[in-house]
């Protein structure tokens, strides 16, 4: 019969309450099963409200009529709901709708197939083009490589020829003595003077 309450509003008021006490408040439907009967209600016998028999007869008649009508209404509504569901699923409109949807589907599939074919052609063209380009590039690359190789070989041959020509001027063991004498006989002077304006003067003091 007493209900325990707790909460944020309660915490403030509990400052004045004794420590350890639980806050209770009275609630409707207060008495529990074990509570004794109140003193003022000790000899009370609960009596239902009095029934007027004439009114009861009339009421029973009215109720039977009412229930008849409501039952009929309920069955009608049920029939209407079922009919609506039936119409929805297998009515004429539903067939029309299904047919239209199938037509739309066919049309869209046809469009899709056309698009696919077109894209296929475009794609094959593109792929072929790309293959040709790649082949051409490869051929060009190989030509380039061969050309480079040829040039390299030519350079090397030139170098060899140059070297062969230089061989004539090399100093060997036989020429050694003669070249030494030649060098000693012809002293070369590498000194030169340069002006700020860039005039070169090779004639200097011979030593």
């Amino acid at each position: 019969m007493f209900q325990v309450i707790g909460g944020r509003s309660v915490q403030v008021s509990r400052l004045l309450a004794p420590r350890g006490a639980v806050l209770v408040e009275a609630v409707r439907g207060r008495k529990s099963r074990t509570d004794p009967v109140a003193k003022s209600k000790e000899g009370r016998i609960k009596v239902p409200p009095p029934v007027d028999p004439r009114e009861m007869v009339v009421l029973k008649e009215r109720y039977s009529e009412y229930q008849l009508i409501t039952r009929a209404l309920r069955l009608e509504f049920k029939e209407e709901v079922l009919r609506k569901k039936y119409e929805e699923e297998t009515g004429s409109l539903a067939e029309e709708r299904a047919r239209q949807e199938a037509e739309e589907h066919h049309a869209l599939m046809a469009i899709n197939n056309q698009e696919n074919l077109r894209m296929l052609q475009v794609r094959t063209l593109r792929v072929r083009q790309e293959k040709e380009d790649a082949e051409r590039k490869q051929v060009e690359a190989s030509l380039q490589r061969e050309q480079q190789q040829q040039e390299f070989l030519k350079e090397k041959e030139k170098d060899i020829l140059q070297l062969q020509e230089d061989v004539k001027n090399f100093i060997t063991l036989e020429n050694l003595d003669r070249r030494i004498e030649d060098a000693l006989d012809n002293p070369k002077n590498y000194n030169f003077a340069v002006d700020k304006e860039g005039r070169v003067v090779k004639q200097t003091m011979l030593q």
């Binding site: 009421l59 009508i69 209404l73 309920r74 509504f77 049920k78 029939e79 709901v81």
Partner: protein
């Protein structure tokens, strides 16, 4: 995607649908306002409902009218699916004309009329007594 609503709808064993009043805006004191609602029987009065089918304002407005609204199409659907209206909802529907007039409405009205006639005759008798005196 799995339809989550059918997984979230609680399945009641032996439960049925009722059309009844649910108190709306229950945080306001002394200002009731009811929604006419199709809900499962076991649900709390103000708890989750299947569909709202109307409103009922029990306090009269400035023109002394009590406003009620119904969604007759959906009420027909739910009754066709096997919903039961409660007594006050049935009474309101009877007054609206959708259902036949509830017997208790008629008997209450008759009782009220008998009471007022009784009071009127008592007043007349009192006046007569005062006149004699």
């Amino acid at each position: 995607m799995v339809h989550l609503s059918s997984l979230l709808l609680k399945n009641y064993h032996g439960g049925y649908v009722v059309i009844r009043f649910a108190l709306a805006g229950h945080k306001q004191a002394n200002r009731p306002f009811y929604r006419i609602v199709a809900a499962y029987n076991k649900r709390a009065r103000d708890g989750k409902y299947l569909e709202q089918l109307g409103t009922y304002d029990p306090l009269p407005n400035i023109y002394n009218e009590k406003l009620v609204s119904f969604n007759f199409d959906r009420i027909k659907y739910w009754i066709g699916c096997g919903a039961h209206p409660t007594k006050p909802v049935a009474k309101l529907l009877g007054l609206a004309g959708f259902f036949p007039l509830h017997p208790m409405t008629i008997t209450e009205a008759e009782r009220q009329r008998a009471q007022t006639e009784l009071m009127a005759t008592e007043d007349v008798l009192e006046e007569q007594k005062e006149a004699e005196v």
